[in-house]
Amino acid sequence: MRLGINALIALCLGLIPMIGGAGQKPLTVTDDLGHSFPISSPPRKIVSLSPNVTEILFSLGLGGAILGVTRFCDYPSEALSKEKIGGVVDPSLEKIQALHPDLVIAFQGNPLRVLDRLKDLGVSVFTLREGRRVEEVFQTIEKIGRVTWTSEKAADLVAALGAGLSRTQGALRKAGPNPRVFLSLHGSGLWTCGHESFLNDLLDQAGAVNIAGGVARNWILMGRESFIQQDPEAIVILAKSGADFIQGREWFQNEPVFKKVAALRSGRIYHLDENAASRFGPRLIAMTEHLARLLHPEAFERQP
């Protein structure tokens, strides 16, 4: 059903041929802000304003067309050698302008004021928003595919990622009951994700029950009392490195009031790569499977 609607939208919005176009078929693509883009040729000079967009562009084989990325774009490692145009909330107008990009791809988190100013300067800015479910990353990939004339590659990537997600789902059918999980965002403190974050869906897809999943918010600072009362059976720590993870784990272990919490008694404290899991990009699928394997090793045992 979802695929059908997608195809319909693609037909309605993505492929409106311009009348009187000479030879090549120009495209009009609509971004998540509702702006439509007449794209008369494949963009060759792309600037990415967000790490997840950079990851998607590289996985569509567009590494060569990327001119500029943010200082947070560190994956894949080729991204590190690209020109840095500033950060996510403070991209440099000058640097972007100096690259003369034919397409800038922005993402939720880039301030709209900055994007408006870029548009004033005559730059085409294609803006996408974050979904609340892991699967919505497929639409994000397809949209980027359409605007960069790589729809076929995008479709292949989405098919492969979709298959990966179904494989995980299939394996989890043999799994035991879903554990109550606390997702620790910073490795210290009780910051976690609520119902509105795609990380909540990631937990769900990986066969976990988010103990903060009932809160209709994106990010939450949970109190120690409700943490103890919810009694999570496992803790998943998002950390950039093994050392950060160990530091985060020690924080939980050294808190005397947490001693009786199930996860600390059983020692079920797991590491999930922060960059891979917190960026709305293709690596979410692998992270879902990785977490499912950590939480339900029994379900994956007899996999070939």
Partner: protein, 331 residues
Amino acid sequence: MSLKSKRGFLLLGLAGLFAAGFLLSMVSGQVRTSPAAFVDFLLGNDQSLRTIFWEIRLPRAILAFLIGACLSLAGAILQGYFQNPMADPFVVGVSSGASLGAVLCLVLGLQASLAGFSTQSLFAFLSGYGIVLLVYALSLKKGFFKVETLLLTGVAAGALASSLTSFFLFLRTDSYEQAVFWLLGSFQLASWKQAGAVAPYLFICLAISQWLAKDMNLLSLGDETAQSLGCPVPRVRKIFLATATLLAAVSVSVSGVIGFVGLVVPHWIRILIGPDHRFLFAFSTLTGGVFLVFCDLIARTILSSAELPIGIITAAVGAPFFIYLLHRKKG
């Protein structure tokens, strides 16, 4: 040295710094551009960097100048108004009010633009002005008010607005990074449109201040003496308060809260050329503008990979210089 020649020297110095500041602003930035490329652009030979010079750097330097001028003039007015050297453009709660408006806008997700102004700017302006009206109304007793009550009510209302701002930021942590940039001020998005929007306010407010400068001099003798010397004290006070608030609210709504400029620049001028408001207003305006052009220059070039919020620079540069002047004056 007579006051008159001091003023002459100061004016000459400011003109030189003004020219230097603008030239440096044009040739430096995150993108490396040689002075030769700038000359080429001026001569019309090479227009490839036109957007950077003409649409990004020049309006940015002009906006920095205008905002610095607005804030310093507002500070000079309010220090005279309250007879208090600690007064700054934000003393009666304008900045906290305006930040509250801007953050509220972020939190509610109202990000659009109306007639060239972003809704954030409009919210900031209205809430900044609104809070001062509220403070003013609360300070009135039987149609009169004590300056002291106004000052204290302003501080209290400002604290309340700040706590509400933090509360909204806490509710919506994903707006936090954006809000910080707003709260510490930046000229990152400066455009001709913004500069054009600010300029008329500055000119009108400067004209009003110059027109009433003699009355401000009389106010420093005390309200009763001023009244007996023919100064219509209540009316003059109302006009000055409205003018300073307008300047501060416009500034905050365009570029966020930029501290220290409005506090320190009028003091520099008072130390250099004395307390006569007929010159204090004009010189504070000019100096504040030039000062902020240099601060912005530092803010956007000191790190190669990122821009600093300008509020960090204004205090870091302004405070030592201020202490030096104070020290020299004593010695």
